[in-house]
């Protein structure tokens, strides 16, 4: 397979699991490294300004830190479920605005392909392309493979 570093944004939706499966298939036939990245939305621009008692400052940092750890654990689980031992799968959790973090990481680490789902956990299904996918497509330094949600299970 010609892709050596594949970046897979994960938000734990069915869509991103499907994208991960496709990325694993693409990685298995060569020497690719898969990087699963989850981005925790940075709440401080909102809550920092609100400055409500008990929110903001170290309490916020604690919340974000706990969330990062929990998500890292979830990525670990996802990796063990979906990424075969033959494939080198890295896991990363960051905090920030997902499209920016994803495209910046792709640039900084010279990923040659991003594989992601069209939709994530949030947002409306009737919208044909989620805002994160759209933004990543628009700003990515490398090709972006966008994959649909898994097909509905067959009957009979």
């Amino acid at each position: 397979m010609p892709f050596s570093k594949i970046l897979v944004p994960i938000d734990f939706s069915d869509s991103s699991t499907e994208a991960l499966r496709l990325a694993v298939q693409m990685a298995s036939s060569g020497q690719s490294v898969l990087t699963l990245i989850h981005v925790v939305m940075d709440p401080s621009p909102l809550y920092g300004q609100v400055g409500a008692p008990g929110v903001g400052g170290s309490t916020l940092r604690e919340i974000v830190r706990a969330q990062k750890e929990s998500r890292l654990e979830s990525l670990r689980e996802l990796r063990s479920q979906e990424v075969s031992a033959a494939v080198d799968g890295q896991i990363v959790v960051r905090v920030g605005y997902p499209p920016h973090v994803i495209t910046a990481l792709a640039a900084d680490h010279d990923h040659d392909l991003i594989v992601m789902g069209t939709h994530g956990r949030t947002g409306l299904k009737r919208v044909f392309l989620g805002s994160v996918a759209e933004r990543v497509i628009r700003e990515a330094p490398c090709p972006v493979l966008v994959t649909r949600e898994p097909p509905a299970p067959e009957v009979g």
Binding site: P2, M26, L129, A133, I137, A140, P143, L145, R148
Partner: protein, 143 residues
């Protein structure tokens, strides 16, 4: 995983050249059929040129487009690849590409992020975004 059919949509843009190279690499690696599709939207040309095309003009446009695609794109393929399919289609770009995808059921579609036509210079990447929205198969958008 085996891809058996890869569709790449091209126009004259730099991005579609990179899309072509990406699709070619993938097709080569997967030993898949490469379907090279270029769509001519005459309505856009008509808007610029304000005249109707005769049959022989249409024929000539089609031939010139075909030659252009062969010279600028197909020539870049490695020698050990079988010749790709090549289709010069007419109609609205996205609709025509989506129909081609529905008709031929490729495993993946590849397009450049920015196009070359007048409309896209104002609305960035609209063809690629619409392809990502509408295709039932995975779409690769190449910057």
């Amino acid at each position: 995983m085996a891809y058996s059919r890869i569709l790449v949509g091209i126009d004259g843009s730099e991005a579609s050249l990179r899309a072509f190279d990406f699709a070619a690499r993938l097709a080569h690696d997967q030993e898949a059929v490469l379907d090279v599709v270029s769509v001519i939207d005459l309505d856009q040309l008509a808007f610029i040129d304000f005249h109707m095309f005769t049959d022989s003009q249409l024929d000539s446009i089609q031939k010139r487009a075909r030659t252009r695609v062969i010279d600028d794109f197909v020539s870049r393929l490695p020698d050990d690849m079988p010749p790709p399919e090549l289709h010069i289609l007419r109609g609205p770009v996205v609709k025509t590409l989506v129909r081609r995808v529905e008709d031929t059921e490729p495993d993946v579609v590849v397009v450049g992020r920015h196009g070359k036509n007048v409309v896209e210079r104002f609305v960035e990447g609209s063809v690629s975004r619409k392809m990502a929205q509408r295709c039932a198969v995975p779409v690769v958008v190449v910057p």
